[in-house]
């Protein structure tokens, strides 16, 4: 038996899953990576451009998936480019999801070990992460969707709250002048931004579960627009507080931003633990969705029971997560995964769509 596709999710749930998939560890590091590449404060323009760009690539993937109602990418790819090639591409996509899951988990391990639970062994942090994710994914896509929906009010509320509080140390002069060096810096920052802001891939299997696949464009536009707001807030607020020269010295600029102010008039004085707690939830969502995608891919490509795939991939995720030997290795891994995504999900879907159109594959 293959993964059950009897589960159905509503359009809203699809939007929520899409947003939760995009929002992950990137928010914590993007201000640094983008400014490093650009050298000026114009990177917020790049974030907006990337958001729009992601909508375009997302739309292509959505169109592709729409041609094959009720089927995931792993099932329909062989109708477009044939069985052997399709199998290879399918496996590479599943491997991509797996490495995303590993990357996110390793990031949590690093942040938690450094800021939150110094002294707790990293395997203990990972074990909890893996087990809970396994339990959740066994419940199917609906369970994942419900969990995503559950954490949104808490996570987004706290994110919005701490963002507003950080305005205390915000200095608009750090974001001026706008485009003083022309479009060069904006262009240079596009790449690192795109690396963290690849959004379309979850649609490869999400569309198959939607009860109204026709409304997929809402998922693409809504999902990217919401995610863009978060990335924009992270970039603008971090630069506003640290200035471009300061932000590149911070390993986790957004975490340090929240560590940069005390609030004396509220119940809590410091908010970094709160932010990290909710952002770990957010990363957990991404982890689960990627894990689910990887397992679904393997299950459909190799015709193995979905549950068995979930169990089988679990140790693999842990092993891949432990590959980077240092924090630089981790960031490099993130970069490589991003490059991979740019090719597979940014460039490839368009020719696939064209081929599918001419071969009259799908509806």
């Amino acid at each position: 038996m293959q993964a059950k596709l009897k589960d159905r999710i509503t359009t809203t749930e699809a939007v929520i899953i899409n947003v939760n998939y995009v929002l992950a560890a990137g928010v914590l590091t993007l201000p640094r990576t983008a400014v490093e590449a650009a050298g000026t404060s114009d990177v917020w323009i790049s974030v907006i451009l990337c958001g729009l760009l992601a909508m375009v690539t997302g739309a292509v993937i959505a169109k592709l998936s729409q041609r094959f109602p009720g089927r995931t990418f792993f099932e329909y790819i062989r109708f477009i480019i044939g069985k052997p090639l399709g199998f290879l591409l399918g496996i590479s996509v599943a491997a991509y999801f797996l490495s995303i899951a590993s990357f996110e988990m390793r990031t949590v391990q690093e942040i938690t070990g450094f800021y939150l639970l110094e002294g707790t062994p990293s395997w203990a942090i990972c074990a909890l992460f893996l087990w809970v994710a396994l339990y959740l994914c066994l419940g199917g896509i609906n369970a994942v969707a419900r969990m995503c929906r559950l954490i949104i009010p808490i996570a987004w509320g706290i994110f919005l709250g701490v963002s507003l509080l950080s305005l205390e140390i915000f200095d608009l002069n750090n974001l001026r002048p706008v485009m003083a060096e022309g479009v060069g810096p904006v262009w240079r920052a596009l790449r690192p931004t795109a690396l963290t802001f690849t959004a379309g891939e979850s649609l490869l299997f999400l569309v198959a579960f939607m009860d109204k696949p026709k409304k997929v464009m809402q998922v693409v536009v809504g999902g990217n627009a919401i995610a863009m707001v978060f990335y924009l807030a992270a970039v603008v607020l971090s630069i506003g507080a640290f200035s471009t020269d300061g932000v590149i010295t911070r390993t986790w600029p957004f975490v340090d931003l929240i560590r940069s102010f005390d609030v004396s008039y509220l119940v809590f004085e410091r908010f970094e633990s709160l932010l990290l707690a909710i952002w770990i939830l957010q990363i957990f969502c991404t982890f689960c969705i990627a894990y689910y995608g990887a397992a679904l891919g393997v299950s459909q490509l190799l015709n193995i029971k979905f549950k068995h795939c979930l169990y089988g991939l679990l140790p693999l995720i842990y092993i891949v997560a432990e590959i980077p030997r240092s924090i630089n290795g981790l960031f490099m891994m993130g970069n490589e995964i991003g490059n991979w995504a740019l090719i597979v999900f940014g460039i490839l879907p368009l020719p696939l769509l064209v081929v599918a159109y001419f071969r009259r594959a799908g509806a």
């Binding site: 062994p121 750090n174 002048p177 003083a180 200035s243 020269d245 940069s260 102010f261 005390d262």
Partner: protein, 397 residues
């Protein structure tokens, strides 16, 4: 039966899942609230320990004094009265801050935690010889010390500041709290957290840090120390009036007063600042840079010692405004003289204005900005508005 197993499982879960892996009891922690960094100068305790054989190879670069707070109730039988202190200081001399912190672990069983660190005070002699980036590197890298920790310099020994407080108070908290008086006195520079020096240190631009001095049993905010961008070292100080001028120049004041003598009557005049604002405009004409400073302020009479008990009508108010404006401009000029011609350090944001409005010119001059800045002409325009005179509508008798 099933129910019982379920209950048993829940009970076991309570035992296994509660608590935190890396927890430590608050009574066993040394909560750091302040640090003072000075040029190497060992304390009596340290010398005695050294004489007894407690030393290791080091170059004696600086002394770190850590202020810890004594958790309430941790002190056995607390003596009543002024003798009881709720803080204690420990000094370690070493080559690096980190080494000093860890060296403390040989002297106390309690683990220091830095989450509540409020201030870092750097002594003048040290700040003049070791760069600020080296001194703050540990603090900006550490995971529990937050970037919100405030930086100050001290003309004199920084360690002394941490010794002074009224009974029952903790010096680090007192210093942090004085920054809250910005609305009462305009001779306080804004608190500068570590967050705000990372940028300037990296871009090699100059900035100022509040100076605090101590004498006997009390400490006082006294002007600011200027950190030079090029060197990262303390270059000099602005005294209290020069700081006042800097506050007017940048419009960063939130309140305070402006005192002068009316040359016509020879009597004192005191103006309470309600608000102030300043804009620095950069002009570039034929490649020549110049600046225009425009300061505006609103406030009220706090004291008018004019004789005669005259009604404070519009004519008098206008005349007094003029007197006060001239005085404020004088303060600003004094400050500008110091930062342009003595210290050669742009600490008032002139560079920022040029960077924002003339980015192309800025790119050409930013390399050696502090020197370029010291030769640039600046014009001033100060506008005061006395809105009211309080409950008394006449001058003093």
């Amino acid at each position: 039966m099933k129910r019982r197993i379920l209950w048993l499982l829940l009970l076991i879960q309570c035992l296994l899942l509660s608590g935190c892996w890396s927890s430590s009891a608050i009574e066993d922690l040394n909560m750091e609230v302040g640090v003072a960094l000075d040029i190497a100068d060992e304390t009596e305790v340290e010398e005695k320990l050294k004489a007894a054989g407690g030393s290791y190879p080091q170059q004696h670069r600086f002394s770190c004094t850590f202020q810890f707070i004594v958790p309430q109730g941790a002190v056995g039988s607390k003596k009543e009265g002024s003798q009881s202190k709720n803080f204690y200081n420990m000094t370690e001399t070493g080559d690096s801050v980190f080494e000093a912190v860890r060296e403390l672990s040989l002297r106390t069983n309690r683990v220091p935690i830095g989450h509540h660190m409020k201030i870092i005070i750097i002594g003048e002699k040290l700040a003049r010889t070791v760069t600020l980036s080296e001194l703050t590197d540990f603090f900006s890298r550490d995971n529990d010390i937050r970037p919100s920790v405030l930086l100050l310099v001290s003309k004199g020994k920084a360690r002394d500041v941490l010794n002074n407080a009224l009974p029952g108070q903790t010096p680090a908290f007192v210093v942090e709290g004085i920054f809250g008086n910005q609305n009462r006195n305009s001779r306080i520079w804004q608190p500068v957290p570590l967050t705000k020096v990372l940028g300037p240190l990296h871009s090699k631009s100059s900035f100022v840090l509040q100076n605090i001095i101590s004498s006997g049993s009390e400490s006082k905010f006294a002007g600011v120390g200027v950190i030079k961008g090029k060197t990262g070292l303390l270059g000099g100080f602005l005294d209290e009036s020069q700081l006042e001028g800097l506050i007017w120049l940048t419009g960063k004041g939130q309140g305070g007063f402006l005192k002068t003598k009316d040359p016509e009557t020879g009597k004192l005049l005191n103006y309470e600042i309600k608000s102030m604002d300043s804009t620095i405009k950069a002009n570039v004409k034929d490649g020549e840079i110049s600046f225009e400073v425009k300061v505006e302020s609103a406030g009220r009479f706090a004291e008018v010692f004019d004789p005669g008990g005259e009604r404070l009508d519009e004519a008098i108010i206008r005349r007094k405004e003029k007197v006060l404006q001239d005085h404020a401009e004088g303060l600003i000029r004094g400050t500008m003289n110091q930062i342009q011609h003595e210290l050669h350090a742009d600490v008032a944001g002139f560079g920022t204005s040029l960077r924002i409005h003339h980015p192309a010119i800025w790119r050409k001059v930013k390399e050696d900005w502090d020197e370029t800045f010291s030769a640039i002409p600046v014009t001033y325009k100060v506008k005061l508005n006395i809105e009211e005179y309080g409950a008394s509508g006449t001058s003093a008798e």
